[in-house]
């Protein structure tokens, strides 16, 4: 059993890392986005392997179903600059910076964690650690209600902001008059002239 899970884990990790590598190396932006989606999928599968079904499903729902679509839309609606050089002269500098940042982010985890694998939970009377949904729901409306509300307000603000921008855009756009409107306009202009 363990061996099987190890093998699956290895494969999935290879998928995630390989896909992530492809994201940064392929030239075509759309291909990069598709590789990114593959990577997201791999992560979701890893969550499933950890028996965190809810998180896995949310990963799929949010990242694959929503965010990647957003990315694709954004790419398609903007001009593509294909054929730019991938490696600049100072690629090593950026690599160093990236490594440094990664180290900064990773160091606390590295030092602060006791690297003991948790004992596999036995069948008898174990607390439901990861059956999650209900606990998560309760947590959101009790313990973390403030965080939840703040996140909600933030999202609402973002939504309203998007709508406002869209409305501005629409009012600025040249309106094409239909035939009836044009006729009405002509009539009104004539009326205005005759008054003058």
């Amino acid at each position: 059993m363990d061996l099987l899970i190890q093998i699956i884990f290895g494969l999935l990790s290879a998928l995630v890392i390989g896909a992530a590598m492809m994201v940064v190396t392929v030239r075509n932006v759309i291909h990069a986005a598709l590789w990114l989606i593959a990577s997201f999928f791999g992560v979701a599968a890893l969550y499933l392997l950890l028996e965190a079904e809810f998180i896995a499903v949310v990963q799929v729902l949010v990242y694959v179903g929503a965010i990647s679509i957003l990315i694709l839309f954004a790419i398609m609606l903007t001009r593509s600059n294909e054929g730019d050089r991938l490696l600049t002269k100072y690629w090593w500098a950026s690599a160093l910076i990236a490594l440094g940042l990664f180290g900064v982010a990773f160091l606390p985890t590295f030092t602060g964690t006791t690297w003991n694998m948790p004992q596999p939970t036995g069948p008898a009377g174990t607390p439901e650690v990861l059956s999650g949904v209900e606990e998560l729901g309760r947590g959101f409306v009790s313990e973390f209600v403030l965080h939840f509300e703040i996140a909600g307000v933030l999202l609402t603000v973002a939504l309203i902001g998007a709508i406002v921008i869209a409305f501005e855009e629409r009012s600025r756009r040249r309106r094409v008059l239909t035939l009836a409107e044009e006729l009405e306009l002509r009539k009104r202009r004539q009326a205005a002239e005759s008054v003058d």
């Binding site: 756009r173 094409v176 239909t178 035939l179």
Partner: protein, 369 residues
């Protein structure tokens, strides 16, 4: 900031909903149409030139091919033109038969046109199938009378080709039993359907003034609110004997065109009922026995017009005294009703184009000739 560019899209000549080989060069800004240029001529068949090398009677079957939905109405216009040119009298019974056929044509054309229009809106052919069912019944009648379903070639100078077969009238009466049910059903499917209302209300408005200046005719013009019907304005044949109403629209949008067509089917049914009443008393046979079919009209010219289901169909004939017309010109309603398409579509969405085009009810055979 987001910016949209003007984009040119070619709809047609190969496109599922252009009613034949018809092309529209659509300039869109986002989804809104800023310009639309209809391009036609892909189905040009040299109709008028062919007619000038044929004798007068030989042109009769060619007129069937103009608007192949309403071959009877086309025949009527042409027969009227030649009769006017030569001076042929038409017996009363023949006139009744003619009007009967033409009014049946009107019903079948509107049934089909509404079906195709709803098809263009994306329905899965149900309304079309219902319309086609009634159309088939009428075509059966045409077939029993004239011998063909579409290319009827039924009219002759001075009458019609042959009298009605004995089983025609019972079948016609049966058909008239079904007709109100069919029209009511069509109305129930179309009139209050919210989806259809959204797709048709205030779409493709053609204001009265514009319609007149484009010399649009037929249901299109009447939907724009102009009560102009040649059957009333200049009654030809025996249309002054019948009692019928002229439906007009209030706004001139696609919805009004649907309503006007539905009502015209009802009015046609009224006329047919009156014909059935008056036909037994009609004098004369199905054709004037003195009328020669191989006519040699005196030199001169003539213009005759009828109200086909699509609008005013006129034939302008110039005779030089020979067996063949010197000049033969068709005023095709589909063609002239199509000209305001560009103006009508401006300011609407791309998806509305096909609906507006469908509401004009064109037949490419008549547009391109």
């Amino acid at each position: 900031m987001l910016k949209t560019e003007e984009l040119q899209i070619n709809i047609g000549p190969q496109h599922p909903s252009t009613h034949g080989v018809f092309r529209m060069i659509v300039t869109v800004d986002g989804e809104t149409i800023t310009d639309l240029k209809p391009v036609f001529g892909y189905l040009h068949r040299n109709h008028e030139q062919i007619a000038e090398v044929n004798t007068y009677l030989q042109n009769m079957p060619y007129t069937d091919r103009l608007d192949y939905f309403n071959s009877m109405a086309n025949n009527h216009a042409y027969a009227l033109a030649v009769e006017k040119l030569v001076g042929i009298e038409v017996p009363e019974r023949a006139e009744y038969l003619r009007v009967l056929m033409v009014e049946l044509t009107r019903i079948l054309n509107h049934a089909g046109a509404l079906g195709f229009l709803i098809n263009d809106m994306g329905a899965w052919q149900t309304q079309l199938a219902f319309g086609m069912r009634e159309r088939e019944k009428i075509l059966d009648l045409f077939e029993s009378a004239s011998g063909a379903r579409l290319m009827c070639n039924y009219f002759r100078f001075g009458g019609v080709a042959r009298d009605l077969p004995p089983d025609f009238m019972p079948r016609l009466k049966d058909l008239l039993i079904a007709m109100p049910a069919f029209v009511d059903e069509m109305e129930r499917l179309l009139r209050e359907n919210e989806i259809l209302l959204q797709r048709s209300e205030n779409i493709g408005i053609l204001p009265k003034e514009v319609a007149i200046s484009y010399s649009v005719t037929g249901p299109m013009l009447r939907a724009s609110g102009v009560p102009y019907d040649i059957r009333k304005a200049e009654p030809y044949s025996i249309y002054d004997r019948f009692d019928f109403d002229v439906p007009i629209g209030a706004v001139g949008d696609v919805y009004d065109r649907i309503l006007v067509r539905i009502e015209e089917m009802r009015q046609s049914k009224r006329i047919i009922e009156q014909i059935i009443q008056q036909l037994p008393d009609a004098q004369g046979g199905h054709i004037n026995p003195k009328a020669r079919q191989n006519v040699r009209p005196p030199a001169g010219d003539v213009y005759a017009r009828v109200e086909t289901p699509k609008g005013e169909l006129g034939f302008y004939l110039v005779s030089d005294g020979s067996l063949k017309p010197y000049r033969y010109k068709v005023r095709a309603p589909s063609f002239i009703n199509l000209t305001p398409l560009g103006d009508m579509c401006r300011g609407y969405k791309v998806a509305d184009v096909v609906v507006i085009l469908g509401s004009i009810d064109i037949v490419m055979g008549e547009v391109d000739r």
